[in-house]
Symmetry: C2
Subunit: 349 residues, 2 copies
Amino acid sequence: MLEDLNRNLTPLEKLGEFGLIEEIKQQVNVHHSTTVKGIGDDCAVIGSGAEKWVLTSDVLIEGIHFDLSYVPLKHLGYKSVIVNISDVCAMNVVPTHLILNIAISSRFPLEAVQEFYSGVHLACEKYNIELIGGDTSTSEKGFFISGTAMGIGNTNEIVYRSGAGDKDLICVTGDLGAAYAGLQLLEREKRVFIENPNIQPDLSGNDYILERQLKPEARLDMIRKLKSVGITPTSMIDVSDGLASEVLHLCKSSEKGCVIYMHKIPVDIATSVFLEEMKIFPTIGALNGGEDYELLFTVNQRDFEKLQELGDVRIIGYMTDKSMGCKIETEDGRSSDLESSGWNAFAHH
Amino acid sequence: MLEDLNRNLTPLEKLGEFGLIEEIKQQVNVHHSTTVKGIGDDCAVIGSGAEKWVLTSDVLIEGIHFDLSYVPLKHLGYKSVIVNISDVCAMNVVPTHLILNIAISSRFPLEAVQEFYSGVHLACEKYNIELIGGDTSTSEKGFFISGTAMGIGNTNEIVYRSGAGDKDLICVTGDLGAAYAGLQLLEREKRVFIENPNIQPDLSGNDYILERQLKPEARLDMIRKLKSVGITPTSMIDVSDGLASEVLHLCKSSEKGCVIYMHKIPVDIATSVFLEEMKIFPTIGALNGGEDYELLFTVNQRDFEKLQELGDVRIIGYMTDKSMGCKIETEDGRSSDLESSGWNAFAHH
């Protein structure tokens, strides 16, 4: 059906990843009673009893999600675990198991694969994740990684994107934009190196942003803390595609509007210094950069005091009625529409 | 760690896929009480109650597992579902859910992705599988598919590779080698076409082997029949890498030997005719070809009569004590060691 070149074909980037997922979802005709949540959240949720299995699957592709000219294989293995378990955390569930598929070109020796898996095992031990399977194959070109992570959650503890209420507080853990800054640094030094291979990369003083890019962590600690202070968020998502995109996901799924205070968005000083050096406004880096793997969640205002016990969480705005739209406000009170120019998997190539 | 070119690096094909999986398995240090079976069977098995979740994950890589110059995208979508649910069937469990990740180069228009998913949805409807999620991404080059299929099984019904007993009958569903024959045909016609693009492919009279290659089916029907006649196999595996390789897996996991009768191996007449034309001995095609997606299983001899009720199943040999080794016998009584020269994912490139 691709031979008819007279047909008006649609480039994939026009639809984008979320448009494509929406279209795939429309075509799903089989629905089992054991499915609590199918396509459309950080994880699928399946099971019939009080305990549900929560599952997610993510790919990392060489040349799209990582560049082996500056990403060490051990770090890549570590990150392959993190990106998957972060989505389980975003359901307020402790991840327990991982299936990891790889396809790797035969230009890699066994020692490279061992190095990759040393990072996988390191992350698994740190987060108490059991690797229970995976397919291993060769590829013609490039390194492909596909992980599936899962955990068990009680029905009343699992948090979706869709539960946020009007006036709920919007919270985010840690700080944002650092992984994006780290990526800009690595890309800059790669360009310098390509132009002049005798110049050594200058990465000094940028340990924090490099580590956030090369060795991200999942906020499993926050899932445990939320439980210990007695907060069940009303909605939650992990910040992998930039804050703006994730806030819009929560608003869309919850059928709400929001106000985000630009000056409340947490950006580390090292991130700010570097991004300003690169002529990027730090908050824009936080809004549109990706790979933070922090948690964005909403809580009912009655949990305000408990929030103070959490530590490492900032309130950055609140949910509103859907009719109010999704807004971002500067410190001097100017308001504009919150827009996502985050990651489009099909435009980035 | 790859810069030290003086080190003696090991090519991946030396270890092979099963060697690599064995090595990865050795490094797993986290073990959860909810894990019934981790690495080392067709599926992982997790859960704490009487009902367990059975999960498997498989990749299909362009240029390795499929060639888009002769595989229609709709068939590829269909096959992506089948290869995954076949592994769930191999645990004696009815598959119910699927997560499907794809990474696709932007050379494909939206219409190509829609065509692929039309095959996915067709297989899902036929086998009553709910598509509950998946990551979609672009790739620099090539089409990469990773599926994760799952189902719920009762603890006492789940069948592993490891349960075969001495003197158990070795059975196989359907017939073998047809998908391999279909692949040989497609590859032959591709070579002809490359040499002379004016010659149209000659695929006439080979519908059966083409369909077995391009549109494989999972033997979910046999899982239902086994249950209806009251047989729980003592061990089971699906035939994806060639019969010899799968028999050796059952023997290894069950710590048994075996005798396979070469003349009992079921090969369809269309397969035989084509393979002989290609100067390939049909039984060798069945032993070492792949992608049959039939079920290979063992049953206790007391189930012999029930086996007759199943239909479409052949007894091809029996299990022996481990000390007897794994043997294959010809009709005139000559015996030799059963050896696998099946699919090595790392040698095939």
